[in-house]
């Protein structure tokens, strides 16, 4: 079934709904009534809040001592300014489905230099050449897209170079990676060696033995992986593929060569848990110098 057939199917199903005239007037009246109710409820809520605050303040004042002892009531430490959330933040290109409230935090397009993530834990300092892009920075995931990124998926004229997970190109850093996407193997542990061993022994994957590695102050294991020719399944469903960690998966090399190989680096955190660095196979040469510059803030 190709794209045209899918479009035809959807159009045909949609055509089952006959075009009938719609009358907006009753809905407009409902909408205005709802708006009025919302306004009244809001006003009542604000009034109640004011009453409670005024009453509470009065109660506190009536029970407070009239003099302040010399060793009390002194100013506390000045508030800590969290500069990481705002300094250098460029929200324009951030993918806005990140977790947390807007404005979304990311560094955006990067000039050559050294930068530090703003939300990823542990904080990650790295050095990049010009042209890389950081559109995603959350506590759990940090992405770096390779230069020339474009979103033209499945377009043969597109350079297909953007990072993270199943997206080709660049770097994808994940805290606490868990195997699978709907098919988690509960018997797999959370340490780097346990996860690396699970990957290496996965029947869908061709991989060498995990080799010890040290990145940014953390130790772990590195392995290059590809989808086995003998693999015909997908987990949990879909085309021939294997989901490794969340969005990170390998696909049929005959159809999607850009998704067919990955370099995985699994690192142990000192307080438990692990961090995964995933690099698309086609971007290893470009990405490894950046990985070599990684420094995790281990406090």
């Amino acid at each position: 079934m190709n794209d045209t057939e899918v479009r035809d199917l959807l159009a045909r199903v949609a055509d089952e709904v006959p075009a009938t005239p719609v009358d907006p007037e009753p809905l407009l009246r409902r909408g205005y009534r709802r708006m009025a109710r919302t306004a009244v409820a809001g006003a009542v809520g604000i009034a109640c809040a004011i009453v409670l605050i005024v009453g509470g303040v009065g109660l506190i004042r009536s029970s407070a001592p009239t003099t302040i002892p010399a060793d009390e009531g002194q100013p506390t430490e000045p508030p800590v300014t969290v500069t990481g959330e705002t300094a250098g933040t460029w929200t324009g290109p951030c993918l806005d489905s990140q977790d947390g409230p807007p404005p979304w935090v990311c560094l955006g397009p990067l000039e050559e230099g050294t930068y530090t993530s703003q939300r990823f834990e542990p904080a990650l300092t790295f050095t990049v050449p010009t042209g890389w892009n950081n559109p995603w920075d959350t506590r759990g995931v940090f992405d770096l897209w390779t230069p020339g990124w474009s979103d033209g998926y499945e377009d043969p004229d597109d350079p297909l170079i953007y990072v993270g997970g199943n997206q080709p190109g660049g770097l994808h850093v994940v805290r606490a990676p868990r195997p699978g996407d709907g098919c988690v193997d509960a018997t797999v542990g959370t340490s780097a060696i346990e996860l690396a061993t699970w990957v290496a022994n996965h029947p869908a994957i061709v991989a060498g033995a995990p080799s010890p590695v040290e990145v940014g102050g953390l130790t772990g294991y590195q392995l290059d992986v590809s989808l086995a020719d003998t693999w015909r399944e997908s987990c949990p469903d879909g085309p021939k593929a294997v989901w490794l960690f969340g969005d990170i998966y390998l696909r049929d090399p005959n159809k999607y060569p850009e998704h067919a190989t990955k370099r995985l680096i699994l690192l142990d955190l000192r307080d438990g848990g692990s961090v995964l660095i995933a690099i698309d196979g086609t971007q290893v040469d470009a990405a490894m110098p950046i990985v070599d510059s990684f420094v995790f803030d281990l406090g």
Binding site: L9, E16, V17, L95, S234
Partner: protein, 177 residues
């Protein structure tokens, strides 16, 4: 005083104009919205309810009232969200799909009709997120980044949802045969 009277009349005119623009926006967008909601829910009555609810919510939000042109993208987003809520709230998606499946199978001996019925049934059996990704990409012709915003996931996830949805349709027995 005359100035005040002019101001009152002007406000009334503006209000009437706004209502007219809202009504126009609804008349223009509702049929497409109902088709979208139908593709997501497979139920015409539910689809109409969702679109009406989306419009009522739109009217009920002061900040949108000044820009009726924002209705169409708002409608699309709200339909997707309400579709999810519909299935989640009633916890009947699975039961519903089981119910839909038998009624749409073997309804015709015409091979074309049978294939269509089978595909339609397969489409409605897809998990909602997969179905939504297919509909938004192939029916609404939206880019993956926009679909990702609507489904609150990453573009990569949209692609995997589409791929999995397509694969499920391709493995429909009538398509294979």
């Amino acid at each position: 005083m005359e100035h005040d009277r002019t101001g009152v009349v002007s406000a009334v005119d503006r209000e009437a104009g706004l209502r007219s623009r809202l009504a126009d926006a609804y008349v223009r967008s509702a049929p497409g919205g109902i088709r979208l909601a139908y593709l997501l829910t497979g139920d015409r009555a539910v689809a109409e309810d969702l679109v009406q609810e989306a419009f009522v919510r739109f009217v009920g939000r002061l900040r949108f009232l000044r820009d009726p042109d924002a209705f169409e993208p708002y409608l699309r987003r709200t339909i997707v969200n309400l579709s999810k809520n519909h299935f989640r709230r009633r916890a009947v998606e699975r039961a519903y799909l089981e119910r839909v499946g038998p009624t749409t199978e073997n309804v015709s001996t015409d091979p074309d009709v049978a294939t269509y019925d089978s595909l339609r049934s397969a489409l409605l059996r897809l998990p909602l997120r997969q179905r939504a990704a297919l509909v938004l990409r192939y029916f609404e012709d939206l880019p993956d980044t926009t679909i990702a915003e609507l489904l609150r996931c990453r573009p990569a996830t949209v692609r995997s949802l589409v791929a999995r949805g397509l694969e499920a349709l391709r493995t429909t027995p009538e398509v294979i045969s």
